[in-house]
């Protein structure tokens, strides 16, 4: 069934589908119940599933993630919502030292089917503690999978896979995409983690972009096309596992790469992508790999400053032109 829904609704409908099918799937987090979630993602789910399965928690991020770890290791499939990715810092021990490592430390004798959802990214004038993009921290940790959809359809297909996965999955959601509408096939098979998507085909340059930057890249590509430059836009969709094949195939075709993410540049996941391409695809490159990222600052409050720090399509266009 095709339906026009928002990115936020797509995530909710994915959770609803799995909650209907499996009584062991439940949600916990701050204000996820009657309030409907800080960004409205859980919405009316509490009405259908009750407070047992859409569970409001105290403001205790460590306990939210830890509780998910304990529940996942004893037969349930929790979906934990953190209000902002920035708050994962408070629950980091539970995610990094517990969730990510338990299976390994215990010799593979336990599995942790849990999802931690984290609203991510800048642009909402929320300043330095509510606007970060921390995918580099999370992808750095063996034991976690990290997903970051850019469209309602991808959000729907990927949340299904995230819930089905027997490992801890960090599900990043870009705050500025929540209201974005799109056609979503509610009957699709889950989108496997580790499958990139070519959002636009082109021969001259590959732009690898994530989440909101996918849309900035597509806008940039439209502008570049007016000048006869055809950019290919590749959205990894899942940061780990990573679909290297699709990326390499594109690089082999275009020989030029721009990587666009909303992270601060230093130590970014964009840098990891660049390193992978340099190590494994060097012979196909005709120009240096270029990263378009945030400036290396905390995200400032004033709109003038925030817009200056966060990259957009113009920055991508500039980067592409320098390569050609």
């Amino acid at each position: 069934m095709m339906k026009t829904i928002t990115y936020s609704e797509a995530i909710r409908e994915g959770m609803r589908k799995r909650m209907r099918e499996n009584p062991n799937v439940f949600i916990l987090g701050e204000d996820v119940g009657e309030f409907g979630g800080c960004f409205g993602v859980t919405g009316d789910l509490v009405k259908e599933f009750g407070e047992k399965r859409v569970r409001d928690t105290p403001i205790s991020e460590g306990a939210i993630v830890g509780c998910a770890v304990g529940a996942a290791s004893t037969g349930l499939r929790p979906i934990a919502e953190l209000m902002f990715i920035d708050f994962v810092t408070v629950g980091m021990d539970q995610l990094v030292n517990q969730a990510a490592k338990m299976r390994y430390m215990f010799g593979g004798k336990i599995s942790l089917p849990m999802v931690v959802r984290m609203p991510t990214g800048a642009g909402s004038r929320a300043a330095a503690q509510h606007s970060q993009s921390l995918e580099a921290w999370l992808t750095h940790v063996p034991g976690l999978k990290v997903v970051y959809p850019s469209t309602p359809q991808d959000a729907y297909g990927l949340i299904l896979s995230a819930i089905d996965d027997d490992n801890p999955v960090v599900f990043l959601e870009h705050k500025l995409l929540y209201a974005m509408s799109g056609e979503v096939d509610l009957d699709i098979e889950p989108i496997p983690l580790g499958l990139a998507d070519v959002k636009r085909e082109g021969e001259d340059v590959t732009i690898i972009a994530t989440a909101k930057m996918v849309h900035e890249a597509l806008a940039a590509a439209e502008e570049l096309a007016k000048e006869g430059i055809e950019a290919e836009v590749v959205d990894p969709r899942s940061l780990f596992p990573l679909d290297k094949e699709t990326i390499f195939k594109s690089v082999e075709k275009t020989n030029r790469v721009v990587i666009a993410t909303e992270e601060t540049k230093r130590g970014s996941y964009a840098g990891e992508l660049a390193a992978i391409i340099a190590e494994e695809c060097f012979d196909y490159l005709d120009a240096p790999i270029t990263r378009v990222c945030c400036l290396d600052t905390p995200i400032p409050f004033s709109p003038v400053l925030e817009d200056y720090v966060v990259p957009d399509s113009k920055d991508i266009i500039d980067a592409v032109k320098k390569l050609l």
Partner: protein, 327 residues
């Protein structure tokens, strides 16, 4: 006290198995036969034993860096424990965890833990899970006095209390958070006082008296199973050894150590059993011999077991992804 002779003997056996396991672990470590480092439970045996004597196999525990005693009391197999300490393939964790990460999901052991205070919230999750699935399972969360200054302790007690979860918080107050005496790391004498803040019973018990621990834990476990929510039990005890093997323990004086050695929980139980004609000295001797033989056999099993193949290093991170090996 409605404890059968059989139960008392079983508890003696558990305490003695812990003591002998740990004593051997200390020797093996000193001889350089066990890599890494170990934190021993010697002196605190009555706590794990008295608490776990109330648990079923299906109940859960979370443990700590000082976890060997908890694992043994919950039914852990000494062979696989020693094999893990030796880093062998046959260990509980295939040699990937070591002393601080022994776990056995089949016995509800959700892992020892290298992060002080990290088990609290996992225990709450297990308690939530038991309640969610409508089972009568409970989860015991073991931790030291040092961890009660971590935020996780407070988060977990609060959450378990508001949701009336079947969790028993068992504080092993051995007077020291690593080198820091309790009087210096918190402004209270009884950790159990903190239960008031979370509207749950807080009980102080002599942690070197296995019968007292058993009784207190029984009440808490019954409460938890009956849906009456969590309890905080503080067991006053003492570790005979340092924080870790090799710790020079310059921070405590010999008088204090001597005083606590007089309160050793194992001779206390032996005396009780002899006084009440539960066992004879010959029977105790026989049990001790059986345990010594079991330990020798377990060490032999461990030492004769192979190390894991190096390729195993990239396995067991995920259920479905094996990482790349070094080329």
């Amino acid at each position: 006290m409605d404890l059968s002779n059989e139960k008392l003997i079983q508890m003696y056996r558990t305490m003695k198995r812990i003591r002998e396991f740990e004593t051997k672990a200390a020797e093996l470590f000193a001889e350089g036969r066990i890599p890494g480092f170990v934190h021993l439970y010697i002196g605190e045996e009555a706590v794990a034993t008295g608490v776990c004597a109330n648990l079923k196999d299906s109940d859960y525990i979370t443990s700590t860096h000082r976890g060997h005693g908890h694992i043994i009391a919950k039914g852990g197999d000494l062979k696989y424990m020693f094999a893990e300490l030796f880093g062998r393939e046959t260990g509980y964790c295939k040699g990937k965890g070591g002393s601080m990460h022994i776990a056995d999901a089949d016995r509800g052991i959700l892992g020892a833990n290298g992060i002080v205070g990290a088990g609290h919230n996992i225990a709450v999750g297990a308690g939530l899970s038991a309640k969610y699935r409508d089972t009568d399972q409970v989860c015991v969360c073991f931790f030291g006095d040092g961890s009660t200054n971590q935020g996780t302790f407070h988060e977990a007690l609060n959450m378990a209390s508001i949701w009336k979860l079947p969790v028993i918080f068992v504080c092993e107050n051995n007077l020291y958070g690593i080198s820091m005496h309790q009087s210096r790391h918190q402004a209270i004498q009884d950790v159990a006082d903190r239960a008031v803040a979370y509207n749950m019973p807080g009980v102080v018990v002599d942690g070197n008296d296995v019968l007292a621990v058993y009784e207190a834990a029984k009440e808490a476990v019954d409460r938890a199973r009956n849906g009456q929510g969590p309890t905080l039990i503080e067991c006053k005890t003492y570790r005979h050894r340092g924080h870790f093997e090799g710790d020079p323990t310059v921070y405590r004086d010999e008088e204090e150590v001597k005083e606590w050695l007089q309160k050793d929980p194992i001779p206390r139980l032996v005396e009780f059993m002899l006084d009440n004609n539960v066992v004879t000295e010959e029977e105790i001797k026989k049990i001790d011999e059986e345990i010594a033989a079991e330990i020798e056999e377990a060490i032999k099993f461990a030492e004769e077991s192979p190390f894991p193949p190096v390729e195993a290093a990239v396995e067991d991170i995920y259920t479905d992804i094996v990482e790349e090996v070094r080329s």
